[in-house]
Amino acid sequence: MIFQPAIIALLLASVISVAMLLAAAPFAIQIIRHWDIASGSERQLQLERRTYLFSTLAMFVMATQLMALMLFVFNADKMSVMFVGAMCAVGTLNVNAWGFPALIAQMAVFFLAASWLAVNHVDTRAPDYPLVRIKYAALLGLLPAVAAVLWLQLEYFMNLRADVITSCCGSLFSEDTKGLTGDMAALSPVPAMVAFYAAIALAFATAAFHAQTKRGGAAGYAVAATSVAAFVAALTGIIAFVSLYIYEHPHHHCPFCILKPEYDWQGYWLYVPLFAATACGAGAGAVQPFRNVESLRNVIPQVSARLAALAAAGFLIFAVIATVFVARSNLMLIET
């Protein structure tokens, strides 16, 4: 284990998140068992008051996970000097088998928490709180996910050994590497660009259409699906060509180095709108299963349209920023 402030901070954040959800769990079970919106009994009033606490807690946990996610990557990048062969976050994450799973789990928790908040938001718009039981069952489901993040981080940090020789972005994201990351890097720029812009344009168009028409169901799911697809395509595009333009180097495909101060933190400008847009798009999908609930008939189209509008805006901003980075670069990948 490497004893380091940022690591302690990350573990602290995870421990507090788990502890909060754990402390809330018995009350969530009470809500699931005793909720009765029609009753004016004092117990029901008590339970209703509790729901405010849970919304606030969930919001807090989500915000924490988001900040922890950034700190995690940031810290991995900084720690790369400590490992032989590591040049950026990739090398640090590769020091043992837990690094990337921990990162992915943290991202997953962020998107899950965002979806929960979307469902929570529509539920509190209907006077009969129709989704209370589902919501609190889902909150209980979030607990193991957050606990898994804590466990993966612990495993990862406990098994960090400074004498390990690790492989970094140069080999993980190289055209010659076998496997997914290598394939992503090996995409030649023109098809990668086409796929990148097409997927983002599709996600943007679907979201914008849904935001305009407010027609529910299929369109809402489509927003979620195209958002996730655009997320994947965006990451692929960053690896395949956007990063090259930022580094002005024809073979450096790393999606993490762009977060480094040497490159003016340009990565954050890309990732923040991308993550926000994907979270909103996923949220628009997450509320769709409930669109036929009587009291939500009017609420869900509005909320999911709003989320879709935010997603559309996020993807647009992302695409514009990526284009600016490409256009500003001195690197020429495509002959003109």
Partner: protein, 224 residues
């Protein structure tokens, strides 16, 4: 406009000190009239007002507003209705110390997100109407009892509610001020606002401004 059917309210339900403050009230309150609740101390007048004004939910029974059942609504929605429909004047005035008269008047509108300028204009107009324009920047604890009450009335009106609810509005006022309050009340009646108030004070209950008096005792309505 407001209809109560067999409304009951218990405190400390299920505990040894359980107490039924209202034990079955059915009542219709008409719009654009001034209704007064009268009864001995502890008869449940304040409790009834909190149910009518969406400050609390009945333990059982139904409350409906404009035909819509609101008795089962969670606090979030009750608050929204309350903010739009009801304005409150409390016995102790309940102004927030340390803030100016103006700020106190604007408080209920903060959660609505109305633009600050618009709020300020409306608050100024209300203070002006209640002859308090010159005191608008004074802190409320420096104001006299009568002035404080007028600030409280202005605050109750900032969201332009249909119904004004006043609990013992004259209990802390001398006769002259109480009369003045009744005059203000009368003007609301003429304006077409619904007013519901409670009082022990004969000056209030027997005043010409009051259209209807409801008598209460032990959590029940006493038919005359």
């Amino acid at each position: 406009m407001i209809e109560l059917r067999d409304v009951k309210k218990a405190f400390n339900q299920g505990q040894h000190n359980e107490y039924w403050a209202l034990s079955g009230i059915s009542l219709t309150i008409e719009a654009r009239r001034v209704t007064a609740l009268r009864g001995p101390s502890g008869s449940g007048k304040t409790t009834l007002l909190t149910l009518i004004g969406c400050l609390a939910r009945p333990t059982s029974g139904r409350v409906s507003l404009h035909g819509r059942d609101i008795s089962g609504l969670p606090e979030r929605f009750l608050t929204e209705i309350r903010r739009k429909t009801f304005g409150f004047v409390f016995q102790q005035f309940n102004l927030i110390k340390g803030l100016s008269a103006m700020e106190n008047v604007m408080l209920p509108a903060y959660p609505t997100g109305r633009p600050h300028r618009e709020l300020k204009q409306r608050a100024e107009a209300l203070l002006d109407r209640l002859r308090l324009a010159h005191r608008r920047d004074a802190r409320v604890e420096w104001l006299s009892g009568g002035e404080q009450q007028r600030v409280a009335i202005a605050r109750a009106l900032i969201n332009d509610p249909e119904v004004l609810i006043a609990d013992e509005p004259t209990a802390n006022l001398d006769t002259a001020l109480a009369k003045e309050f009744m005059a203000i009340l009368e003007s609301f009646g003429e304006e077409g606002r619904t007013v519901i108030l409670t009082s022990h004070d004969p000056l209030v209950v027997e005043s010409a401004a009051v259209n209807r008096v409801v008598d209460m005792r032990d959590g029940l309505i006493v038919e005359p």
